[in-house]
């Protein structure tokens, strides 16, 4: 946690409500996101109990499993979820634009927009991943040999959910988002990070209802109960409130189990639907309230670019599904794992740089940690590079209150608003205190972004009195060298997939894994 974030939390405690942790919104928000609030059954790992799902806040679709231990009903639930989700995905698959050819790529089709899925919290996101993992290999009624066929669209749902959940691991991605993560990125509350996972409490801090302050609203959301003992603000899932499970849900399930006639069963099922709906509805409303709060923030300048990468990811998966490729493998092979990790590390560096460039608060955190500095130019000394064609290398003397931590000769990058790329520079000499304890003087040599002539391009060199910001991190980090093909996996990593050198998995596959 940065010093600045600690300060923001302390301020939130003192003020009794959340304080902004960002001046812009760092995530793309779709106009019509698909909100998904799943609930699971206590005592049965991963068994769904119900969900509210939809793109229309006024008309969510309620899916309920009246008896969570019944396998048929469970897969009926997944089929229902597939119905909502796949139709929403399908809407985005055919609306394409054409991306012009570049040096490394031919002209390509790119989906104009991608479906954005928002779930309440990190646990719900993990549940989406679990559903994807447990359904993408299932065999359907189309397969005559399947011993326990599931409804046809379920494995396809699993593949999409797996793709979304895997993409969510890429820093800065926006295909699948947990609302509590989004809100805590943009506001700092006075409660612990653990409590911030409670959507109701988090919203209480950010936007307390009239007459309450943050702590009171959060306490009410966490522990306030109605006279019959149920929580005023039911947990945002996927786990349910034990009091609800014991006092209300269990008798209703028992009634369903006891029902012997169709009308009895229908009545019992309607009862359970109402109960599960009553637990989901407050969270559903909270979800949209949270999205409204985020929408009120202006979008950061680089958000669009990151969303475009999500659209590429979406389009790529669409193409793999259409090409009839098999589901994602159970485990990544050595090359795929290394590729994913490298891609995510680049994405993390890019996200951190772009957030700093978009948001003065994010830049302030980097300045405080010595990774950037802002100061005033006091002197510009023109020098030129040696060589056949001398290039301008102006040396700026800057006074700053910041304390950049870098050796002389280290690369620096000038942050320019609206610029496509950073202006390269390097630190010339160590920072010197102008006055003890006061601002420091720094010398920085500009090395690029001044055109190709002997005189720098108009406006590319700051003048004395200008305020400039330099970062010690790259603004657009490149990805590393290409990895070998899977068939070229070296002997140190067990050779190509399927060869003898691969040691047995620590968690061997059993027949149950394919159920």
């Amino acid at each position: 946690m940065s010093v600045l974030h600690t300060l923001a939390r302390a301020e939130a405690v003192a003020a009794g409500r959340a304080v902004p942790a960002a001046t812009v919104r760092h995530t793309h928000l779709s106009d019509r996101p698909l909100v998904l609030v799943p609930l699971t059954t206590a005592g049965e790992a991963g068994a769904p109990l119900g969900a509210l799902v939809g793109t229309d806040r006024a008309a969510p679709e309620l899916l309920v499993v009246p008896q969570p231990l019944d396998r048929e009903l469970r897969f009926g639930f997944f089929a229902g979820l597939a119905g909502s989700l796949l139709s929403a995905l399908e809407e985005h698959c055919d609306d394409v634009e054409v991306e012009p050819a570049t040096r490394t790529r031919e002209e390509t089709e790119l989906c104009a927009d991608a479906l954005q899925i928002v779930v309440p919290n990190a646990a719900a996101l993990e549940y989406v991943r679990l559903v994807g993992r447990s359904t993408r290999f299932l065999r359907t009624a189309e397969d005559p040999d399947a011993p326990h066929p599931v409804p046809v669209p379920v494995p396809l749902l699993g593949r999409w959910l797996t793709h979304y959940a895997e993409r969510a691991r890429t820093p800065g991605s926006g295909l699948l988002l947990a609302l509590t993560d989004l809100l805590t990125r943009h506001w700092a509350t006075g409660q612990s990070a653990m409590e911030d996972q409670h959507l109701g409490a988090l919203l209480g801090w950010i936007d307390p209802p009239p007459g309450l302050d943050g702590p009171a609203a959060a306490a009410r959301a966490q522990t306030g109960r109605t006279p019959d003992g149920l929580l005023l603000s039911p947990p945002a899932g996927p786990a349910t409130d034990p009091v609800f499970d014991n006092r209300v849900l269990a008798p209703a399930l028992a009634r369903y189990d006891k029902a012997r006639t169709a009308p009895e069963r229908a009545a019992a099922e309607a009862g359970i639907r109402d109960l599960v709906g009553s637990q989901l509805r407050p969270t559903w409303d909270d979800m949209w309230r949270g999205l409204d709060l985020l929408r009120a923030l202006p979008e950061g300048a680089h958000v669009e670019e990151r969303w475009k990468r999500d659209r590429w990811s979406f389009t790529g998966h669409r193409d793999r599904v259409r090409a009839g490729e098999p589901p994602q493998p159970k485990r990544d092979d050595a090359i795929a794992a290394a590729q994913k990790l490298a891609g995510r590390e680049t994405a993390q560096a890019r996200l951190a740089a772009q957030e700093a460039l978009d948001d003065p608060l994010a830049m302030a955190a980097r300045r405080l940690s010595g990774e950037a500095f802002t100061g005033t130019v006091v002197e510009v000394e023109m020098t030129w590079s040696e060589g056949r064609r001398p290039m301008p290398r102006p040396i700026l003397t800057i006074t700053t209150q910041d304390l950049p931590q870098a050796e002389p000769g280290a690369k620096a990058y000038r942050a320019l608003p609206d610029a496509r790329s950073a202006q390269g520079a390097e630190l010339a000499g160590t920072p010197e205190p102008a006055v003890a304890g006061g601002p420091v003087r720094l010398r920085v040599k500009l090395t690029g972004g001044m055109g190709s002539g002997r005189t720098p391009r108009e406006g590319s060199v700051p003048a004395p009195g200008d305020t400039v910001t330099f970062t010690l991190f790259e603004h657009d980090p490149r990805s590393g060298p290409a990895l070998p093909e899977a068939e070229q996996t070296p002997w140190t990593h067990g050779g190509p997939p399927g060869s003898e050198g691969t040691p047995a998995a620590p968690d061997p596959v059993t027949a149950e894994d394919f159920l």
Binding site: A338, E345, T492
Partner: protein, 479 residues
Amino acid sequence: MTQPVRGPGTDTDGGPYDPREPQPPQASDPPHASPVPHEPFDPGRAAAEATSAILRSTLHGTARGVVVDSPPGAGKSTLVVRAARELAAAGESLMIVAQTNAQVDDLADRLATADPELPVGRLHGTDSPPDPALDRHRSLAKSTSVAELRDRAVVIATAAKWAYVKDTEPWRHAIVDEAYQMRSDALLQVAGLFERALFVGDPGQLDPFSVVGADQWAGLSWDPSASAVVTLLAHNPGLPQHRLPVSWRLPASAAPLVSRAFYPYTPFRSGTGPGDRRLGFGVRGDGGGLDRALDEAAESGWGLLELPARHTPRTDPEAVRAVALLVRRLLDRGGLTYSAPDPDPAPLTAERIAVGTAHRDQAAAVRAALSTLGVAGVAVDTANRLQGREFDVTVVLHPLSGRPDATAFHLETGRLCVLTSRHRHACLVVCRAGVADLLDEHPSSEPVRLGVTVKFPDGWEANHSVLAHLAEHRTVWRP
């Protein structure tokens, strides 16, 4: 820190090795108890035997890989240079992979100094020209293109640079230096370039890490965020594993503690005996806490300067000042280092002192404090950057000093191991009181995953054993 459970490969010791039955650390063990009773331990001979066994495996063995574990200051670089020269002399083409440009420059320099006739190629990136100091070697060629260096007997570069080398005939041999600090995915990128390799590294130092989560691959034998050696051994369990048994850097006062706390299954000894390395002062102490801590360190090799318990920000101003004052007093009192057999002391200069911290901002704060005290030339850096370096005296700001919590970062065994194993004479630790209680309140709670190499010892235990030892050399000080 990665201490792989050793496979059935040959061990230099030749002795049975059973990871399930660790020898309980015996505080009462005399520091020079010999593994074979009635036979005095000869460090020179033990080291020479280990080295020749390694060279035998490398030059004449049949395995594709040879792994060498080296404790701090055990002559790893010397071994690499020697193995490189012998491989080159045998007419084998050799590439060397190191992790940082500084390490590559250092190795290239050593190699060219040891054998001025050996044609060495230094492959480097366009943005990172090699150290100009290498220009004095006639036989050393530098280039950004591997094609220009293909005729060289030895080509040396960082793993990051090697990863860009494609479509070339593989080298017959490779030496991978600091292999425990190399990530598995970095090895994946370069392993296609060589047929066989010697992997050398220190399993006790900081593990490689990733800035993004890699939990989803935990337990896979090719987890890209794991150490290269862990992956290598998981896929090639029969590879010969050797270790260097003697630390020439650590004095007799430090080797037993570092060995016991950080290398419980692969113990090592100091190459020097008690009294061979001494620290003295030209000026008597003034009786203050700082000087008493210095005298204790001169006497015993360890000194703990304990400040009153308090929760502080990371850059605890009092602790930072205490570190700076200790360095100032070390210099003011005319520190003298004695190294047997040389009877004459060498003056302890600023260049021979290092300050180690856990975080970069702490290092920056110490640098600022030192400059206000008029001290220049002392290396002040984080554990990550001090890895592989050696000094006469180190002053360490304890990673847990003043903290309200003990995170996995601060408990990482390798961090403390690096900080407490850089010195040839003495190590001073500055710490707030109460770290032992803090440790007791934060037992390690990392999830246990199937298939993941168990890390021994865990940071919690190693921290406790170091603290318990330091407590015997404690000076309580109020700023």
